[in-house]
């Protein structure tokens, strides 16, 4: 089992994702340069947070044309696990691998703080180790996390249970009050219809150790590990 963390020019959470997987979870992980079309036999790909290409045009708009994205698209279409965090989520939306688009936060400011998200679905490779309704305390750090989509796509996403994380208050009682950025339906993370590609705005790699305020984010990486172990067993 091997994780790959993509490095775009301007990625700045690549080291953090690498550390969470390699040093905290102690699983094999390596960096993949954005100009490489070779995914180095990785079993799961992480698109980390940051400001790819400075995000000067539109978040993720240029990164999605990087050579590595062609390979990632193929990898995703053949069932490979792809997780986008923050800017990685934005890139996956721009690439059309996930639905939706990001607008500026409703308050028009960068926000960095711990938020609470509820695990809405557990039958995905990103949430299988969590329990349904579990509340995770994970930090956000973004200017453009106001996820939006047209009404009919939104309806089909809800129907197909593709909304996997929703902002909420610490006790899970009031989703609207817990929404930091104005995202539609308080959506913090979604997956594709095939459930092998997911993105979320909060940073699970920053919530991997209690010393940093929360270890709730680990469950997402653990889920991926379990999914990979399960897949390996099935093919063995």
């Amino acid at each position: 089992m091997k994780f790959g963390v993509v490095v775009f020019p301007g990625s700045n959470c690549d080291h953090d994702a690498f550390y969470a997987i390699g040093n905290v979870l102690k699983k094999p992980v390596e960096f993949i340069w954005h100009q490489s079309e070779d995914l180095a036999n990785c079993d799961a790909i992480i698109l980390p947070g940051g400001f790819s290409y400075g995000d000067y045009l539109r978040t993720g708009a240029i990164a999605r044309f990087s050579p590595v994205m062609k390979s990632i698209e193929k990898f995703a279409n053949s069932g490979g696990l792809v997780l986008g965090v923050c800017n990685g989520f934005q890139i996956l939306c721009e690439a059309g691998l996930l639905p939706g688009a990001m607008m500026r936060n409703s308050g028009l400011r960068f926000i960095c703080r711990h938020v609470y998200i509820r695990v809405e679905q557990t039958d995905t490779p990103f949430t299988n180790a969590a329990s349904k309704g579990q509340i995770l305390k994970i930090p956000i750090a973004h200017s453009d996390g106001n996820w939006n989509v047209d009404e009919s796509t939104l309806a089909s996403l809800e129907k197909n249970r593709q909304v996997i994380f929703r902002y909420t208050t610490p006790d899970g009682s009031n989703d609207d009050a817990g929404n930091p950025n104005g995202a539609m339906h308080n959506i913090a993370g979604v997956c594709n219809r095939e459930r092998n590609v997911a993105g979320l705005m909060p940073h699970p790699e920053r919530a991997a150790e209690l010393a940093l305020g929360s270890a709730d984010g680990l469950v997402i990486f653990r889920s991926m590990v379990e999914a990979l172990v399960g897949a390996a067993r099935a093919t063995a």
Partner: protein, 773 residues
């Protein structure tokens, strides 16, 4: 070869327009042995500007203690460096970007952050934290500030905050500390001081010394444009007038994405082993980097400007040499290995061009294809510039009578309303609205986010192995009010408070950096303030064992002839051997005992009523009520501070306290309230037996004090440690469950409130003020 013909002949008038005095101009001619051409004049004028040459401060800066066992690099390089054990070093420095931030708040602040980050990674250290120390004019109208001025100050603050955040957030380094203060004197001259901290392996450090005759000189990073020409000499080295807005083109423009690429490319290039020396192009751009590298290395340098990547066409040598375009570096590579270096920069999509070479003999030769644009001996230019021992004169003593000083309320007065008001004042209120606009958690090292502990605390990962062993704590402090009233004592307090904050996070203070913000050095009273402040810093840093490893002097902080308060800002770095032992301000458990740690000054019992009122008058509480600047800072007892610092470090190491918070702005009551705000569902019940008036007990800002909370069974251990360090430990109350915040003084309740209403006042005040357009 003949000197290039230039359109402009240099006259004494033109030299004067460049800010050179007649004597300085004569010196230029003496060094060159001839008349300078216009490019050479430009080079001399920026190198000898106050900002770059420290000509007015040098003689005083010599008095600062700069040596220590752990100091690897003191002042004179891009940043100070200290040994933090396990083969690792920390590089850190603070720098100002005041004038640009007034002219163009967003860009001024971004380039301030960008500049200090480059200073850190130029040394081979990866930046891991930023702190910023900010001063603005008042953001709410009062008798000294009109509604229009307040609105303008809010706009400046907003631009600066967005700028600081915008740069650090994109670059990917957490902005995790600093302070914000407000005084009318900063209305037209805000202070933006940015501190950066980086980590390297000791053997991987780089210095800005050109070496090896024949080695190629490589230009890397952003292209050179016409932005920022004379930023250092005109913006940073002259006072402001009404025309200052016309200087907007002198402000540089920042590109954090470019800087992020530059960081990664530089660190990767350094790993090849082919880099000999490296220097960033900050103030005075290509001029400073070429001249200083050659001067430090004792070599010459030859550069062809035609090869410099340019953003605009038709730039003259003068413009190229003086441009302050951001995100550029100059490096010297090993001859024959330049391709290894160039390859790395190409990978990161950056311009990298061999523009010249290191030469013998000490001459800096600036060519423009076949002509010579400038030819200057590097060492005399960089090191033999003017040095001034400017006249010093103490200002006339302020005439104050006891009637000017604070009158304490009659015994038994309920102070709850005043306390609520104090909590909403911008200086005291929560800075959450600001700090949430900064990425505080990127790099996954942040052990204490802003406000969680008295200092910003990051754990240190070994750059090679990612292994975590220790943590570092940082705090910046400075009190302009106190320095205006007494620059020497005020400066001592700045050092003491920064060190105390570091100790209150559990870390042992080890070194310091300083940013000295003052008015015009041409005014004898300002030079007096400067000299006094230096003496205060020197005395405090010596007493507390925190040598100054670097920093920056910012003079000419005046507008329309009026100086800011002298504002030395001190950053203290401390080390924590066990990262799990970080002390935070929040109370933890109901039933925990609250102990006031203090060191009673010798002779303080003899203080008269007038002395008491006089020092009390200089604090935030009096400022809130009277809006005046009167009194004296409380005396600073460095021996007492040292004992308290050692005591706090020992308490943290022994793991016997649950929380710690030093007493500073707003006094004991604010300290207690902040410790409640950090917790959920906890209050306090406090009984003070202080014989002094209640307002003094609650709000005085005397130094060398802190509160700690602890489990009842740890009380004996805490008292024993306090005794060992000669610190008085007095149990003043308990942490309670529930929402009651209650303080009794001599048996009568003086503050009684719900924590929730205090929290609302404190927590949302700044947002409410700043939401007002």
């Amino acid at each position: 070869m003949a000197t290039a013909p230039t359109e402009i002949r240099v006259t004494p008038e033109i030299a004067a327009e460049h800010g050179l005095t007649a004597e300085e101009f004569a010196r230029v001619k003496q060094i060159l042995g001839r008349e300078p051409n216009i490019t050479e004049l430009g080079i001399f004028s920026v190198m000898w500007s106050e900002h770059c040459s420290y000509k007015s401060s040098k003689v005083h800066l010599k008095r600062l203690p700069t040596r220590g066992q752990l100091v690897v690099q003191g002042p004179g390089e891009n940043a100070g460096v200290v040994d933090i054990g396990d083969g690792l070093v920390a590089a850190f420095k603070i720098e100002s970007h005041n004038h640009p931030s007034y002219v163009e708040p967003f860009q001024g602040a971004t380039t301030g952050v960008g500049g200090i980050l480059r200073d850190i990674f130029t040394m081979g250290a990866r930046p891991v934290a930023i702190l910023d120390s900010l001063r603005f004019g008042e953001i709410t109208p009062d008798k000294n500030t009109t509604p229009e001025q307040a609105a303008k100050n809010r706009r400046i603050l907003d631009g600066v905050i967005r700028g600081v955040g915008g740069y650090g957030n994109c670059f990917g380094v957490p902005t995790i500390g600093g302070e914000v203060a407000f005084e009318p004197c900063y209305s037209q001259n805000p202070l933006v001081n940015a501190l950066a901290l980086g980590i390297a392996r000791k053997e991987d450090l780089f210095f800005a010394k050109a070496k090896g005759v024949g080695n190629p000189v490589i230009y890397v990073g952003a292209k050179t444009g016409r932005d920022g020409i004379h930023g250092a000499s005109l913006l940073a080295s002259a006072e402001f007038s009404e025309e200052s807005q016309q200087k907007r083109p002198n402000v540089q423009v920042g590109d954090p994405f470019m800087e992020k690429l530059l960081l990664e490319a530089c660190l990767e290039a350094m790993e090849t082993g082919a880099v000999v020396a490296i220097q960033d192009m900050g103030a005075a751009g290509l001029t400073c980097s070429t001249m200083e590298m050659a001067s430090r290395g004792g070599t010459g340098i030859e550069v062809d400007l035609a090869k410099v990547p340019q953003r605009e066409t038709g730039m003259t040598p003068y413009e190229i040499m003086l441009s302050e375009s951001q995100e550029r570096m100059l490096l010297v590579a090993e001859k024959g290995r330049e391709q290894e270096v160039l390859r790395v920069f190409k990978k990161w999509g950056l311009d990298a061009v061999v523009v010249g070479r290191v030469t013998e003999g000490g001459l800096a030769r600036i060519k423009n294809t076949a002509t010579i644009a400038a030819e200057i001996p590097a060492h005399p230019l960089a090191e033999e510039g003017p040095v001034y021992n400017r006249p010093i004169a103490a200002p006339a003593p302020r005439v104050e009578t006891p009637e000017d000083w604070f009158q304490f309320a009659p015994e038994g007065t309920n102070l709850t309303q005043n306390f609520l008001k104090l909590l909403t004042s911008p200086a005291i209120a929560s800075k959450r609205w600001i700090t949430e606009q900064y990425d505080t958690s990127v790099r996954t090292n942040t052990l204490a986010v802003p406000g969680a502990s008295d200092a910003a605390v990051v754990r240190i990962k070994d750059p090679r192995t990612n292994e975590v062993k220790r943590a570092l704590a940082l705090s910046t402090d400075g009190n302009g009010r106190w320095c205006q009233l007494n620059p020497r004592v005020g400066a001592m307090h700045a050092v003491a408070e920064a060190a105390r904050n570091v100790a209150a996070s559990g870390a042992r203070p080890m070194a310091a950096t300083n940013c000295l913000n003052f008015g015009s050095p041409e005014k004898p009273e300002v030079m007096w303030q400067f000299s006094e402040a230096i003496d205060g810093i020197a005395e405090a840093c010596t007493a507390l064992g925190t040598p100054i490893t670097g920093g920056n002097v910012s003079f000419y902080n005046e507008t329309l002839g009026k100086s800011i308060y002298p504002t030395p800002v001190i950053g203290v770095l401390g080390i924590l051997d066990d990262p799990s032992r970080v002390l935070k301000v929040a109370f933890c458990n109901p039933g925990d005992r609250i102990v006031l740690l203090s060191v009673v000054r010798d002779g303080s019992s003899k203080e008269s009523d007038d002395d008491l009122r006089r020092s009390f008058s200089s604090g935030e509480y009096t400022k809130m009520l009277s809006k005046r600047l009167v009194g004296m800072p409380p005396p600073c007892d460095l021996a007492a501070e040292k004992r308290l610092i050692d005591c706090l470090v020992a308490l943290a190491a022994e793991g016997v306290v649950e929380s710690a918070h030093d007493i500073s702005d707003g006094g004991l009551a604010v300290t207690l309230a902040e410790s409640c705000f950090g917790a959920e569902g906890l209050g306090v019940n406090i009984a003070l037996e202080d014989m002094l008036p209640a307002e003094h007990a609650l709000f005085c800002e005397n130094g060398a004090r802190a509160i700690v909370s602890l489990a009842p069974e740890s009380l004996a251990a805490v008292l024993a440690i306090a005794r060992q360090y000669g610190v008085a430990a007095c149990e003043i109350g308990k942490v309670t469950s529930g929402d009651a915040f209650r303080i009794e003084h001599k048996g009568r309740a003086v503050i009684e409130s719900s924590v929730e209403s205090l929290r609302d006042a404190w927590g949302n005040s700044l947002e409410r003020i700043l939401a007002t357009k």
